[in-house]
Amino acid sequence: MVEITESALDLATLIAAVAGNDAGAVVTFQGVVRERSDDDRPVLGLSYEAYPAMALPEMRNICREAEAAFPGIRIALAHRVGELALGEASVAIAVAAPHRRSAFDACAYVIDELKKRVPIWKEERYVGGDVAWRENPAGENMPQRA
């Protein structure tokens, strides 16, 4: 299950999509809108924009890479777009695995790669009315053109 949605993310739905009696471990990750930006400005909310025709295939690629690297796992991945309030989840991942180490490692792989590779953009809205497009750190972004 891989999706981009304007609706609030529901972790239980993602967990149900990966659950099974062959799984001994289920790890989830949620990225949540914080009240402070990375440069410590007070945040009112975020807005995410995606290029779904490219983002969805790339999200599926990332899941397939993790499933190949960690045999026996299942992954569900959802990213929200549109306006988000403080405390709401922007991205949610559920990984079911035979054992916990591969569940943790696969879940971390998926969020790390998503932040580098998936064409989704974030605009922060600040107290006072300013807005700014915020990029993931350089080490977490695709190499740019020379």
């Binding site: 924009e49 290029y51 490219m54 953009w121 990029e135 972004n141 053109r145």
Partner: protein, 85 residues
Amino acid sequence: MAANISVRVLAFARVRELLGCAEWTLQLPPGATVADAWEALAERAEPLRALASSTRLAQNGRIVDGGAPLHDGDEVALLPPVGGG
């Protein structure tokens, strides 16, 4: 002389805001490249040039170099550095 090709260009995030439009339809001469599509937009909005080094180009959903040749009906996307997650 061959007919022009028609290319759809999608702009996202800060590139979209700078261009003032999310979706363009460009008529380009046969043999035009992805870089030519970029140049056609930069001529309409010179400040776009400041984003050249940070903007990736995709053709039909795949990242390409500027030299990639375009075909009628292609979709080109202008992708600033990503911020998802």
